[in-house]
């Protein structure tokens, strides 16, 4: 008590401390690393440890030189590889999000409309895969999809095919991996939204002349808009930068920006270029994140 009172004397209140804490967290684990990466992205490559030249240097006695190198960014736009990878990443993330939506909406809807006793079990089943490491789950797909894997063996045994299908290391395998891994992120916010829905509205719509599918299209779908947007953002944003799944399932041709970043950083040791890629990706995704935030805010405000 005594120490608290002396703190308040110098203008620090308990409330202030509570509010400061998340900002402190953000400063330490987001702003500082971001500034470091930003700094590296403006520096020159060097054969040293770390492999870049400092941005700020003392030259001579009383002069400080700041050398901002924009070549790394210019390079990203001159070499078509980067733009290509970026566009491809956006395409893959977009298609994956659509697939997740097509698969996840009926699941979320089904859970929201199920009896409250079975609901908890179903929700548990949705999150259950998280109990295993992502890496293991993606590896499991290799076992399923490879030439002499489970799926091919079953299909051959059934006589449907005679030659094993090439599935592993194709875009197909990559989409399976991404959709499978990110599906819960779409289902959960969508479920939270649908669960609040007043189902009597559907009866009212039917009473006024809607067939069940029309009632869904005119009532359920517009009312779950915020849930759809929130879920889609949670899939799209991380999927753009996804590295592990394309690397393991997508094969050498899966040109994704996350992969490019990895290669620049570890294979080429081109830290400045890798940093520039990271910054570019971030700048690209910030609008989506802001949109997601505003959707979330609307969702909480409109939770009437």
């Amino acid at each position: 008590m005594k120490s608290l009172r002396s703190l308040s004397k110098i203008g620090v209140s308990g409330r202030g401390l509570v509010v400061t804490l998340p900002y402190l967290w953000l400063l330490l684990f987001f702003v500082v690393p971001f500034v470091i990466v930003l700094k590296i992205s403006f520096s020159d490559i060097d054969l040293a440890i770390p492999p870049y030249k400092p941005l700020i240097e003392w030259i001579g006695k009383n002069s400080l030189a700041i050398k901002v190198n924009l070549n790394n960014y210019a390079f990203l736009f001159t070499d078509p590889l980067y733009l290509h990878a970026l566009l491809n990443s956006i395409k893959v993330a977009f298609i994956s999000t659509l697939l997740c939506l097509v698969i996840g909406y009926p699941i979320a809807y089904g859970i929201a409309r199920s009896a409250s006793t079975t609901r908890n079990v179903l929700l548990l089943l949705v999150v259950l895969p998280f109990w295993t490491s992502l890496l293991l789950r993606v590896y499991a797909w290799i076992g399923l999809l490879k030439a002499n894997g489970v799926i091919n063996n079953v299909l051959i045994w059934l006589g449907i095919i005679h030659e094993p299908l090439t599935m592993l290391y194709t875009p197909f395998a990559m989409y399976i991996g991404i959709v499978y891994s990110y599906l819960p992120f779409l289902i959960l916010p969508l479920y939270a939204n649908l669960e609040k829905m007043d189902w009597q509205l559907l009866e009212a719509a039917e009473d006024l002349g809607c067939r069940p599918w029309q009632a869904f299209y005119k009532i359920t779908l517009p009312l779950s808009r915020n849930g759809i947007l929130a879920g889609s953002m949670l899939v799209f944003i991380p999927a753009v930068g996804e590295f592990v799944i394309p690397a393991l399932l997508g094969g050498p041709n899966a040109l994704m920006i996350g992969r490019v970043l990895w290669d620049e950083f570890f294979s080429n040791r081109a830290w400045p270029v890798a940093s520039a890629v990271a910054i570019l990706l971030l700048v690209l995704l910030v609008p989506f994140m802001m949109w997601y935030q505003s959707v979330q805010a609307r969702e909480t405000a409109g939770a009437r």
């Binding site: 009866e203 719509a205 039917e206 009473d207 006024l208 002349g209 067939r211 005119k218 009437r304």
Partner: protein
């Protein structure tokens, strides 16, 4: 009161040649082992306001939902205007429902909510605009057309819900506790508006309510429901003055119930000896009951006279007169409720209108005489 529109509104249910508009024929609905609606038959006529009255869980809402098509009868059938409704989905029925929660679409404004059903029916645009505007004027919501439901008060939402369900000109409007969410003053006001609206549009109303006052005000006829059955159907005065059972007498209004046995059973009068009352009840009409059977005499509180001096007997000897002491008084302004304890220990409820501002008040513990007319008791056998 509902019959205020006067003599023009005849009583079609008394006319054997009249064709019923809605026919519920031996409808039963079971949920697992539970019989929600048990062998109900009803005939409702065009232009009626029929109220299903009952406590919660009596099956009235289930019956309403079967008319709307949201539940399928386990057996029996429903015919509306000569058309068998069996297997007809809600979106093809000529009825509309006003939901208890109103179920207004939150993402649409008032106008869009009301227009929804018409758009669904592909009514031409110009006609939709006109009909929606007319209907909103009718429920006095014209100036709120662009508001969203969450910007409206409870009473305003109720009006929008009413407009939305009426704009399609249904043959029958189903109303589930239409005034349940409104406060008392607004409810009374809205009851009369609802009657006026029904009169103007000529739509047949089927109302579900647990509020007997609401049912009495609105209804042309009331069907009292208990445990999935219609225990009595009739006009409000019939239900109130001639209840057919203890349940109805007790459920509609308040009543003093005296158990007894017939001591004299003549075609033009009966006398009932009641140990509970400690006196004999003389009733000036015959009843049909087995001799020596246990019967109940139901007397409404407002039909009991209370006096400090011995009243003139309305029956032979000292029939229909008892003495007691005032145990409790509730002053309600327009009338007062007295609880009078008899020598037998039975407590009788008496209401007296406060007609004078300076009446010599009967007070606590005062000895009083209670008496009633020979025509006041209703004798029921179950």
């Amino acid at each position: 009161m509902a019959n205020s529109s006067g003599a023009a509104k005849a009583a079609p249910w008394q006319d054997p040649s009249a064709r019923p508009y809605v026919e519920i024929e031996r409808v039963t609905k079971t949920f697992g082992d539970f019989k929600a609606v048990d062998d109900v038959s009803l005939k409702i006529y065009k232009g009626e306001i029929f109220c299903l009255l009952g406590a919660s869980g009596c099956g009235k809402t289930t019956l309403l939902r079967m008319l709307g098509g949201f539940e399928t009868p386990t057996s029996g059938r429903i015919v509306i205007d000569g058309e068998d409704m069996t297997g007809v989905p809600p979106y093809e029925r000529p009825v509309n429902m006003m939901f208890q929660s109103y179920a207004l679409f939150p993402h649409m404004n008032v106008e869009q909510n009301v227009a929804f059903g018409l758009k669904q029916d592909r009514v031409p645009r110009s006609e939709i605009v006109e009909r929606v505007a007319t209907m909103l004027e009718l429920v006095k919501m014209g100036s709120f057309a662009k508001r969203k439901p969450h910007q409206l008060s409870g009473g305003q939402r109720q009006r929008v819900a009413l407009a939305r369900s009426l704009v399609k000109r249904p043959k029958v409007l189903l109303l589930d506790e239409p005034l349940g969410a409104l406060d008392k003053k607004l409810r009374e006001h809205t009851q009369f508006e609802l009657i006026g609206l029904q009169d103007k549009l000529g739509v047949t109303f089927l109302v579900v309510t647990h509020d007997q006052e609401e049912a009495m005000t609105l209804a042309s006829r009331i069907g009292v429901m208990d445990h999935g059955e219609i225990v009595q159907a009739g006009t409000p005065p019939e239900i109130y003055e001639f209840p057919s059972s203890k349940f109805v007498a007790d459920f509609v209004g308040s009543v003093n119930m005296f158990e007894g046995k017939l001591v004299e059973d003549e075609p033009e009068y009966v006398r009932i000896g009641s140990a509970e009352l400690g006196a004999t009840i003389y009733v000036s009409h015959g009843i049909s009951a087995a001799p020596e059977a246990t019967v109940w005499a139901a007397i409404r509180p407002e039909k009991i006279f209370m006096s400090t001096a011995p009243p003139a007997s309305t029956g032979p000897g000292s029939d229909n007169i008892v003495r007691g002491a005032v145990q409790d008084i509730a002053y309600l302004g327009d009338l007062s409720i007295y609880l009078v304890k008899l020598a037998t220990g039975k407590v009788v409820r008496v209401t007296q209108p406060n007609t004078s501002r300076h009446a010599e008040a009967i007070t606590w513990d005062q000895q009083v005489y209670l008496s009633w007319d020979t025509s006041s008791p209703v004798v029921v056998t179950r």
